[in-house]
Amino acid sequence: MLKIKNLHASVEDKTIIKGLDLNIKPGEVHAIMGPNGAGKSTLGYVLSGREGYEVSEGSVEFKGQDLLEMDIEERAREGLFLAFQYPVEIPGVSNMEFMKESVNAMRKKQGLEPLTAAEFLKKAKEACKQVNLPLDFLKRGVNEGFSGGEKKRNEIMQMILLEPKLCILDESDSGLDIDALQVVANGVNSQRSPERSFIVVTHYQRLLDYIKPDFVHILADGKIVKSGDASLALEVEKAGYAWLGDKSKEAGA
């Protein structure tokens, strides 16, 4: 699904990703943890092609294609989905309209007819229920005035509707109450399949009680410094990242 080799990337001339390797097979769930400022969100932006994020070295293969060659929207249409840590508002554009356009953009890529308003509405209502948002969220402007938790659930709703191949969830659990956390986790679990892979960025082991990862990676100072299974998350929960101190210095030197 995704093969990242020796990736180096910078923003505003500041190198953030410093030689990152990661291999993800179809159907796998990889959790990424790591201290604030380690480069977790940056990795998501680099993979999705955001402007201003320059790759200076390394390669990324997505479904056998050179990901770095593609435009943002091409990557999205190939099935790369990013759930934002801080979803932005688009006033006046209804959630419904926005998602219909994007679902149809994906369908077009797959050579499918666009969904009619009625067909889409039916799907959207189901997705809305699945993440436990009232139906009037479909009519409201994209993220307009949504609470933090509502924005996160709205991202998961989009993921459900778009049926991506690779989902990158950037702290979809932060700021959620216990019930919402379960809703988000259930949303993700319902989408798990042998063809779909996930990168779950989180600070809390708790989420991983609900979404069982196949691998856990610790990202620090722009690279993956430790990988393991779900138990690694428990270790982190106990010990924090202090132990990284020397290690990342070594790596930086």
Binding site: R50, E51, E73, R77, L82, I90, F98, E101, A105, M106
Partner: protein, 478 residues
């Protein structure tokens, strides 16, 4: 600002073609003789000529206004031709079959087929080409309802009493420099009269097209809605792509008698000039309506064209409980400049007005909202609500807001809200991450911003307006 937005904005102007039509065009220049000749061409009665000449006299004494936030070289009024008409229109075609097919094709290309069977059902059209009305559709059907919808040049002959009674009563001949010029040299436009208690059975619309080079278009529209009547009217306009600037100075007068309602919508798409600001229409327009008791006038405008826009559709709320509304979307890009807004003059008791203005500036354009809310001494209980939002695309454009509030009645309430926002890289990125291309993303964000105004447009045209914005924002390949 991202390159993609810039690309998404590289606009093509689809109405920029020139029709090859043989015209009779006056030599450039303006004097009393020219006005007499216009009047003769139109076969006008003496009173109409005298009216024009008085306007001309006032115009000569007036100064071109300079207070607007607009910069352009001085207009040379002697280098403009004040009359141009297709030769084929000389002996007034009786039916559509007699109209020059090239003229019909021009409108068809613009998406306005004039054959009734091909038209949008429920919309009657008056097509004005340079200085004359080419055809007015569905007239019989309208006449059955008692509605008069015809070129104003024809109304002068057929309904002189109505024209004499109302012409210049809302926008006096010497109201302002451009209105005075228009009063002297106006050539055609539409006349509408809705009798008492009649709800006009279809949308009325006039489509203005400037074709000839170096000519100005000076149209005059007069709409009278008698007591308790209703009418919805739409105006559209385009011009070919030319390197020279062309002048358009129109006057629109609306009269809403007691309990009447007029909804006037404009989709203005005059040629805006090229990227560097070469060419384009200078649009200096005076639009005003008067509301008698319980009457309601609603102006909705979508302005995407013209190199220069100077336009303030206004309401004089003379009658008690009357209502004035102004909903505006003005989009400027390239080197376009717009200074537009409204005046709400509250004279009667419990009068209400609403102003929603959405300005979108891109490229190196300048977009100004200028609005006056005036509460007269007798406007007890009057209310105004103004919301004025600007959206910036890129960082080389300008948005300006000039709200003027004058209240002479302590019981009147005036509310004003203003916001300025940008199409952000984050918004664009979100859209693209969801599979939309930059063009689609920008037009969707802009459409969302304009939503409150678009919902005021007649249904058939809301879609059109959305499309127009999309085209205006569309990046052409190469």
């Amino acid at each position: 600002m991202s390159e993609q937005i810039e690309q998404a904005l590289a606009r093509k102007y689809e109405a920029g073609f020139v029709s090859n039509i043989e015209s009779e065009t006056f030599a450039v220049g303006l004097d009393e003789e020219v006005i007499r000749r216009i009047s003769t061409m139109k076969n006008e009665p003496e009173w109409m000529l005298q009216w024009r000449l008085k306007a001309y006299e006032s115009w000569l004494k007036m100064e071109e206004p300079e207070w607007a936030h607009l910069h352009y070289p001085k207009i040379d009024y002697q280098s403009i031709s004040y009359y141009s008409a297709p030769k084929s229109m000389k002996d007034k075609p009786k039916s559509l079959d007699e109209v020059d097919p090239e003229l019909l094709r021009t409108y068809e290309k613009l998406g306005i087929p004039l054959h009734e069977q091909q038209m949008l059902a429920g919309v009657a059209v008056d097509a004005v080409f340079d200085s004359v009305s080419v055809v007015t559709t569905f007239r019989e059907k309208l006449e059955e309802a008692g509605v008069i919808f015809c070129p104003i040049s024809e109304a002068v002959h057929k309904y002189p009493e109505l024209v004499k009674k109302y012409l210049g009563t809302v926008v006096p001949r010497s109201d302002n420099y451009f209105a005075a010029l228009n009063s002297a040299v106006f050539t055609d436009g539409s006349f509408v009269y809705i009798p008492k208690g009649v709800r006009c059975p279809m949308e009325l619309s006039t489509y203005f097209r400037i074709n000839e080079q170096n000519t100005g278009q000076f149209e005059r529209t007069l709409i009278v809605a008698d007591e308790g009547s209703h009418v919805s009217y739409l105006e559209g306009c385009t011009a070919p792509q030319r390197d020279e600037n062309q002048l358009h100075a129109a006057v629109v007068e609306l009269v809403a008698m007691d309990n009447a309602k007029i909804k006037y919508s404009t989709v203005q798409n005059w040629y805006p000039g090229d990227e560097e600001g070469k060419g384009g229409i200078y649009n200096f327009v005076t639009k005003r309506g008067i509301c008698h008791n319980n009457a309601h006038i609603s102006w909705t405008q979508v302005e995407t064209g013209s190199a220069i826009t100077w336009k303030y559709p206004s309401c004089v709320l003379k009658g008690d409980n009357s209502v004035g509304e102004f909903y505006s979307v003005a989009l400027t890009r390239g080197r376009q400049q717009a200074d537009t807004g409204t005046k709400m003059i509250h004279l009667g008791k419990n009068t209400k007005s609403t102003i929603i203005s959405k300005g979108i500036s891109a490229g190196r354009s300048n977009n100004a909202y200028r609005g006056l809310v005036q509460m007269g001494p007798n406007s007890d209980g009057a209310r105004n609500f103004t919301q004025c939002d600007s959206l910036l695309i890129g960082d080389q454009c300008g948005a300006h807001t000039f709200p003027y509030i004058e209240s002479r009645n302590p019981s009147a309430i005036v509310e004003h809200e203003a916001t300025t926002s940008k199409v952000s890289d984050e918004q664009l990125f979100l859209c693209q991450q969801r599979g939309l291309d930059a063009e689609k993303a920008v037009s969707m964000i802009v459409n969302g911003f304009c939503k409150e105004v678009f919902k005021e447009l007649p249904m058939e045209f809301a879609v059109e307006a959305g499309k127009l914005l999309e085209i205006s924002l569309e990046g052409s390949v190469g």
